[in-house]
């Protein structure tokens, strides 16, 4: 409950206010191009006051990314707990992911965590990757449910792992073009993406499995 309503409980603390302002700036201008002074001006405090709450600028980025990823994972775990039929599950996960990417305040946190991973500290990167792997597991479980017989193999050529990556890319790229206000509604975008994927897995899995890298 605390983790889900990200923006609200964050804004109750000064630390949270800084995170919210930083996430918005990092999303708009990028981490490197955003300065401590940008952030503190947005919050309304002196620049030096930042370091009562964070040891460095990087630590703010780390917190934004981890907080964002926790929010995403919590949402997906809720969906997984509902035990939906696979097709519905996929549509709901897609719809939810679009919301994470485009609805404030999560979009600031999620866009930053997706596009500023490079700048994270080693520790934070590891933690974000760990949470992201759990998120991916939920998607893969759902995708595997679409073709029950498939143990990791989907229609013809595409493994569930590869399919997840392609879907993830199609979704995450939408931050570069999609605007919920004057574009098609999120539900419709989600539906379109599901319609693209589902027909591809209704055939029988005849050929060899492609895309399962030896791990």
């Amino acid at each position: 409950m605390k983790k889900k309503s990200n923006g609200q409980y964050l804004e109750n603390s000064r630390r949270g206010e800084i995170l919210v302002a930083a996430a918005a700036l990092f999303r708009a201008k990028g981490y490197e191009a955003s300065t401590i002074r940008d952030i503190t001006t947005a919050v309304g405090i002196a620049s030096g006051s930042t370091f009562c709450h964070f040891r460095s600028k990087r630590e703010i980025l780390d917190a934004v990314a981890i907080e964002g990823m926790r929010h995403v994972l919590a949402g997906a775990e809720t969906v997984a707990g509902r035990q939906l039929p696979p097709e519905t599950c996929l549509k709901v996960l897609i719809r939810q992911h679009i919301g994470f990417l485009h609805d404030p305040p999560s979009r600031d946190f999620v866009t930053v965590l997706l596009y500023e991973t490079r700048a994270l500290s080693a520790g934070a990167k590891k933690e974000v990757m760990r949470l992201m792997a759990l998120y991916e597991d939920i998607w893969k479980a759902c995708l595997q449910g679409l073709v029950p017989v498939s143990n990791g193999r989907l229609r013809g050529a595409v493994s569930d792992s590869l399919l997840h990556r392609l879907l993830f890319g199609a979704l995450n790229w939408s931050v570069h073009w999609y605007s919920p206000d004057d574009d098609l509604p999120p539900e419709v975008l989600a539906e379109a993406l599901a319609e693209l994927v589902l027909p591809a897995m209704r055939g029988s899995a005849e050929s060899d499995v492609i895309g399962r890298s030896a791990t």
Copy 2:
């Protein structure tokens, strides 16, 4: 001919050497985090010498992005000129795009142009967008050919414009996970992506068209 062999003719001039080194650094560390001194150290000249060839750091980024986008467009125009049947055309475009993203030296230029658009000057951004629209036109022509009757509408719900965006995202996101050396071969990745898309458009277009934003 001059434009196609990007890396080679670029490296014949000092200006070209700077562009190649800058593209590699911008890709690895990001534009903001890369310094003039990083670039000139890589080239082997003094930092001030940069400004014999470029008026500013931003102008280097502009040149990298425009050069990269010209290369991409030239490649796609060659494919379009071959008048391939639609399915083959799609597969070739996908395969070629993967090459742009992952084969040196174009990958440095292309990754930068995709992920540092924000930092471009207004003029360069406009030019890159213009070229990108031409690139998109080639894809859309190919996609429309897949369902000849479809005038802009594909299977069920997805417009060719939306489908292009989703495909583009699935491809471009691969820079975050794909490694041509120890992952599946590029041909196989291209094949998998084509197999994902093609089944979705073999059905008849029965329902309304979704994703055609009013322009």
